[in-house]
Symmetry: C2
Subunit: 527 residues, 2 copies
């Protein structure tokens, strides 16, 4: 039996001639459930229903949308066991603590934070110029397509994750395109979403789900006149094709693509607390088999004994730590290909490499090293992302060369610098190096860290999970964090001389909650 | 003699084999001064110098940038006579009140407002999550290319206008590409800018100027890896080509393109104050020979006596009002072509039409009318922008048809609805119509007006001079208004666990001014 798609509030048969199945990466075996590859007619129907839902949503108070997000979060928490079981089977991620105790609470927490943002209205940046008689705010943009990634089946899921929560909280319906590696998990979320919509009397087409389309139909979808915007998290190749299609139609598309997330370890830090950093690095780099957008893929250091000691210790840990399961056969083969590319460019293989295991999607933990000079001879090549449990150490001959390496790097989500702790016994030389390195690094990254690995992405108002192209499609937006992430799905509208009773609720003299933060005549005031 | 370009702080000969001259539209004669068409090497040199200037600017306190903007504003005010004379010769716009008393003070006012924004830092949306140890703000993005339009030689000028002021205030150097219709005016601004840079000891390559390039080099410029972003105001055709180039390189480009700015006149309004609206409409539509981005190009009404009276009165005024001078021969021929297109589609020519005058860039004021039904038979065609002193009246058979016409409209900068005044003698039917029309219109426009024509674009924090594609390239940004317009040229950066002394000044516990608005743990606080 082929699973139905969710269109216009109905679970119905897809218009499809093909199906696909997900793989259990712990067994390297296809799972039973078959999911449809939708033809354009399914997208077309979903778009029509989404347009109608968008119009209905515009007429509802934000409170109703907040209620839906909260009821949905409650239902997800109640359905935890089934969601975790499905995700374990489809992704190989451990049930606990990863899925049940980490990603699931993060997901419900995001939905509740988005609900709070919708209710408060703070995200809309309501601005009042009382003298000129002009008021402005961000408003819903229209139907949002969400393409979730393979590596967070809950927290970045197409109908459960950060893009979804942000799009809905901003007042838009979502058409989710499931990630092909975990369609059943996504389906279970959609089942809960539909029930939550029913419970809260929202338009049932506020959440719709298809599983897969042809590439051409995906491009047609994101560029359709009925679409407001798209959120995509995934591989660079597919993302840039969608971007080209959306751009040509003038449709915003927010991408979160690949990133090698450079980590700079300055000499003083390695000398005074190298062992500690080994632990932090290996923990971050091999966590979840390295399958994080913010995985520290490239480590930059300067020649010296402390650097050699660091590399030796990391090598030892990579050898002795069992390799995690990768998300899918595709991830395993792509990782294998990336390692071959890097080794082919001259990177020295210190440990690992090779082919995927036959009975499990997994590669040995892989550590490579190269020099700053070699990196500079082919900066693009050495920035090949090796998504998974593989890392590249780049040893520069001095800080000058290290800065030059950074100057040749593409946009990244994160950049880290470890330097000697204040008051430690070294000579303070890290301070001068820090200033130079940070000056080069900051323009290249969305988030700059000190003395901390990048894999934790806190759901914080100050978080930027974003960065310059090609880490994302625009350097001014974050995919994580409330209220910032909602702005991606908002349209700015000014109301000029509009009669008071006709203003949106949030721009009237008295707001619905009486507590919304607004910028009135240059001053931020609440209520 | 060919005028030099301004690159890296030097007025130097362009690398050029071709030149061009502007035309005095009041005489339809070429002006003497010759300006170079730069080859790529000029762009390349300007980009290198801009990158160096961007790095220097990042190290300077915002106060220095504010000082430059203010000194520049002072110098512009002092150079008023020469600037006005040059602009009169190149654009045909009246010296007074338009240029000397309207656009020039607006320009210096924008520069001073941008200075205040740079100084206060409010624009950067500094956000502090004290519990998570994460802080974020918007920072400079890198060199910004500015392509100014023909219709505002001062206030939207490439090295003097809103995009320029916003890009500089956000901390970025600007490479200005002069509009080909007023190169001498632009040159005079650059002369003052360079002196202001000297006076305030800013990097001299903070402001650079070239006059023209090949289309291919323009596209290469906006997509160059050294560029941070581009601001473009002008025709849709050229803008979309630049957009395609910038998009493919992942470079943000902010466009302000064509717009027909629909004005809806509801029956009650026409019945109770039709004459008053005739005056407002004709004043707005023919002001500056109709050459405003926010010119009310399409008027939507419902069949009836009041509508016929309105059209007759407008026709009378269009006949009796002398036609203004158009900005250039290109504007005149494009306007003539647009009128032909509309008439070719079946629009009835009520007055005007025809060819440009031989000794002046000017066409007779032109009024056309069509039906809602005809519009719906070719919505794209009837939305052809007639940039200049031409307007199209669309008479729908009822409010249903009027709403359908709006539903088929593209994105626009503005939309207006005139309705009967509260307490007037009519039957209140406009209120119901208003709700329906506004619901359709709001998603299509950046600024929604009531009982007011769209041509005034106040420099207000609540202004949105923007709108959905194809009015602009992104529905979330405004080109006018401080601090909002600065966000286009900012890069969002999070600082995660970064040691306090290494944070940008604006994110440290104590900010430089002590008065910056920041969002601290969800509350906006000052200082």
């Amino acid at each position: 039996m082929t699973q139905p798609v969710l269109i216009a509030g109905q679970w119905r048969d897809a218009d499809s001639t093909e199906t696909f199945q997900a793989t259990d990466p712990n067994k390297n075996e296809k799972l039973n459930a078959a999911f449809p590859v939708s033809k354009w007619s399914d997208c077309d129907a979903a778009l029509d229903a989404a347009v109608a839902a968008a119009a209905e949503l515009r007429r509802l108070p934000a409170e109703k949308i907040a209620e839906f997000l909260e009821v949905y979060a409650d239902r997800i928490a109640a359905a935890k066991d089934a969601l975790v079981a499905a995700a374990v089977a489809e992704t190989g991620l451990p049930a606990s603590p990863r899925l049940a105790d980490g990603e699931l609470p993060r997901t419900t927490g995001q939905l509740r934070a988005a609900a709070a943002a919708a209710r408060s209205g703070d995200w809309a940046m309501a601005t009042i110029d009382s003298q000129a008689g002009i008021r402005s705010c961000y408003e819903p943009l229209g139907p949002v397509c969400v393409f979730g990634p393979n590596n967070f089946p809950f927290a970045f899921g197409s109908v459960s994750g950060g893009d979804f929560a942000a799009a809905i909280a901003a007042g838009n319906p979502v058409i989710g395109k499931a990630n092909s590696s975990h369609p059943e998990t996504t389906r279970l979320f959609a089942v809960e979403a539909l029930e939550a919509l029913r419970q809260t009397s929202l338009p049932l087409a506020t959440v719709q789900l298809i599983y897969r389309t042809s590439h051409a139909d995906g491009e047609r979808l994101v560029s359709d006149p009925r679409v407001g915007a798209t959120g995509y998290t995934g591989s660079r190749n597919a993302g840039l094709k969608l971007k080209a299609a959306a751009d040509s139609a003038g449709k915003p598309i927010y991408l979160e693509l690949s990133s090698v997330n450079p980590v700079v370890l300055l000499p003083g830090a390695l000398k005074t607390r190298g062992e500690e950093i080994v632990g932090e690095f290996v923990g971050s780099a091999l966590m979840g088999a390295g399958q994080f957008c913010t995985n520290p893929g490239v480590v930059l250091m300067v020649e010296g004994d402390a650097t050699e000691n660091f590399i030796s210790a990391v090598k030892e840990k990579y050898s002795s730590t069992p390799s995690g399961t990768l998300l899918s056969p595709a991830v395993a083969s792509s990782l294998s290909a990336s390692i071959s590319t890097l080794v082919g460019l001259g990177a020295e293989l210190l440990v690992g490499g090779g082919e995927s295991e036959p009975n499990r999607c997994a590669l040995a933990n892989t550590l490579m090293r190269t020099t700053g000079q070699a990196f500079l001879s082919d900066p693009d090549g050495f920035q090949t992302e090796a998504f998974g449990n593989a890392s590249l150490m780049v040893v520069a001959k001095d800080v000058d060369e290290l800065c030059e390496v950074i100057s040749r790097m593409e946009g990244n989500l994160t950049g880290c610098i470890y330097s000697e702790t204040e008051g430690s016994e070294t000579d303070g030389s890290d301070d001068a190096a820090y200033d130079r390195v940070a000056f080069e690094l900051i323009p290249k990254v969305g988030r700059m860290l000190n003395d901390k690995m990048p894999t934790g992405v806190a759901v914080s108002a100050a978080m930027n999970h974003g960065g310059p192209y090609p880490a994302t499609g625009h350097p001014g937006f974050t995919a994580v964090g409330v209220p910032g992430s909602l702005l991606r799905f908002g349209k700015l509208t000014s109301y000029d001389n509009v009669r008071p009773s006709r203003l949106p609720a949030i721009l009237q003299d008295k707001t619905p909650t009486g507590k919304t933060w607004r910028r009135v005549d240059g001053q931020w005031v609440q209520g």
